[in-house]
Symmetry: C2
Subunit: 239 residues, 2 copies
């Protein structure tokens, strides 16, 4: 579907008034990062609409795969943003003009949209970012240092971070941000970045090992500068 | 709005394809209970639709107040049920016939609906149940012993229970199921009912007191049969 067809016929393909947005989170250089795409001079979350014959959850999986190339990474719906004034309409005027399309307020995409906000946890090295229908520009941004964002997308990212902070205290999901093999310090840095505070090394290691989901590999990490830390991976029965 | 007007003109008032459903949970006789209403021989969750000019969250608050008489009890969105086949249509045929309305598949209410599933925690003694537009019959059912339920509403209740089990381990929200003044054994029974297992009395009490959100009242509970347990309430600054 090209952009003209999308704007013209979208109403016949998609559920009205419903969208999905995905906060795609990765970890690099000691910081939690989010994948954004450029939209007419601002930045926004990867997102999309739900086909009339498609489950909401399947739409989120589809959009995520389209934009990252990843099949089924960790993905969770965490909130609905449903204010009555929540609309793309104003933001759309400039872009429509630029691509030579006539803007009118009754266009389906200018209506109010209730968005199902998801977050995804990915190994940043495995992602092959791909722009959506409106944009080929995308980049990773530090979650605490966002550029000028579209609509309420900055608020959605803040909410996702709060949710993730809560979720990692109950569930062993932080591994999803790492490559298959990782060291304990790498895992600790991820928890510190999400929680926003330093953790005590030996207590963290003890807690992680007590979960009984990690398997220590026979060889230590080779390219570590001084002492070679052990490598771990998640046990097979704990995907 | 009466039922005829609702069925005829609903499409012009409400957002299409979006509904809210609320698992209203209370605690009585040692058991977690859910408020259900009768719908054409089955039982269903209290729910409703979102006015075109209304926030999704406000719609949930409105429906909850309409059905319980309570203003702003604890209410949380916990999941979206968005399967592509999720529709009321078949269930509606009998009821439409009974009220002398013509059923046809294009009626707005027969379309696919994505529902925003919420749960509410209420003090069951304060609730004044009121039926919705389709039903004057409502009753409290033990969460683990549900009657014949409409559509996927039994599944929504199970999901709410799982969510609540998770939430009470992180947040002090169980107090919402109690009257203003309560004893420690009463609070413990609620946690046991939600978690589905017995808790050790002294450890539970110690944990609850360590949260520093409870205030012990000067007088013990008067109508207790043998020993008179202390009464507690939530401190003012922890609503």
């Amino acid at each position: 579907m090209d952009i003209t067809q999308f704007l013209k016929n979208g109403a016949s393909f998609f559920l009205p008034n419903i969208s999905v947005d995905i906060v795609i989170l990765g970890f690099k250089d000691g910081e939690l990062k989010v994948l954004l795409q450029e939209f007419d001079g601002k930045w926004c979350l990867p997102g999309g609409y739900v086909f009339k014959e498609e489950a909401v959850g399947d739409a989120a999986v589809r959009v995520l795969e389209e934009r990252t190339g990843l099949r089924q990474p960790f993905l969770r719906l965490f909130q609905v943003f449903g204010d009555s004034s929540r609309s793309f309409a104003e933001e759309f005027k400039g872009l429509m003009k630029r691509i030579g399309q006539e803007w009118h307020p009754d266009l389906w995409i200018n209506r109010r949209f209730v968005t199902m906000a998801h977050y995804a946890l990915v190994n940043i090295e495995e992602v092959q970012p791909t722009g959506g229908i409106f944009s080929m520009h995308h980049d990773w941004f530090v979650v605490d240092d966002l550029p000028d964002m579209l609509m309420d997308h900055a608020e959605i990212i803040v909410a996702s971070k709060n949710q993730l902070r809560r979720d990692i205290t109950l569930e062993h999901i932080s591994f999803n941000l790492l490559p298959e093999e990782f060291t304990m310090p790498e895992l600790q840095r991820i928890h510190e970045a999400i929680l926003g505070r330093k953790l005590e090394r030996s207590r963290f290691q003890k807690k992680m090992l007590s979960l009984n989901v990690l398997e220590r590999l026979p060889k230590p990490k080779e390219d570590a500068p001084r002492r070679k830390p052990f490598l771990y991976k998640v046990k097979e029965e704990n995907p």
